[in-house]
């Protein structure tokens, strides 16, 4: 049962090696010449830094991620449903379509609510148009 994961393990090992090798090589081969402080400054198109770089970001990103979580769970639940539809229909249980449809419609209410709340509008100008 677990033999199916051996190729996955190999791929992980391979990708990990490549990842470490690339970054390691970069450090080894590109090693230092002169390091004037100018060179390691944060690059902001030549302007002097005015304040901290890590600012608080907009709540809009939170809304997007929150909506994503909810719909991602929905997707995770629908995948097992989707793979069984063909089998179950072949066995004469066509009601399985209805099961999925009810699930989708219930979430559809949420989608409509979000739309009306403006969760999908990034800026106000966008929503007016």
């Amino acid at each position: 049962m677990t033999a199916q994961y051996i190729p996955v393990l190999m791929a992980f090992a391979f990708a990990g090696t490549v990842a470490v090798a690339i970054v390691g090589l970069s450090v080894l081969l590109g090693r230092g010449r002169l390091r004037p402080p100018r060179k390691t400054e944060t690059y902001e198109s030549g302007m002097p830094l005015l304040d901290a770089s890590r600012k608080r970001v907009s709540v809009k990103y939170f809304v997007v991620a929150m909506v994503f979580i909810v719909f991602d769970i929905e997707v995770a639940f629908l995948y097992p449903w989707a793979v069984t539809v063909r089998e179950l229909v072949a066995e004469g249980a066509r009601a399985v379509l209805l099961d999925g449809l009810i699930f989708l419609v219930l979430l559809g209410f949420g989608y409509v609510y979000l739309w009306r709340e403006g969760a999908f509008d990034w800026s106000r100008e966008g929503s007016r148009r």
Partner: protein, 101 residues
């Protein structure tokens, strides 16, 4: 050789203990939610272990439902944190000592 059931249970216990310690010891709201996530994951692991133990998939279906609950919990919990932060400019849960908004 397959891994014995006991080992998985021990791992699940250890993770649960770490999560519980996190919830009790930290005051940062985000850390507390993370602790809850660790605890839920530990329970999921135990459920999947017992599902294998009994050769019955119902345990795995339950794990699936726990995942949905965890996601809902995180969405609402973090929204609460954002709202609290707006109000108090802090996510220290000890500052929340009034039941009034």
């Amino acid at each position: 050789m397959t891994v014995p059931t006991n080992y998985f249970i021990l791992l699940a216990t250890a993770l649960f203990a770490i999560g519980a310690a996190g919830v009790l010891l930290r005051r940062n709201g985000i850390s507390i939610l993370l602790g809850i996530e660790i605890m839920l994951n530990a329970v999921n692991l135990a459920l999947a272990t017992f599902a294998r133990q009994h050769g019955n998939l119902d345990g795995q279906v339950l794990v699936f439902f726990v995942m949905a609950v965890a996601a809902a919990e995180v969405a609402v919990g973090l929204a609460l944190l954002v709202a609290i932060f707006r109000r108090h400019r802090s996510i220290d849960v000890d500052r929340l000592n009034v039941m009034r908004w």
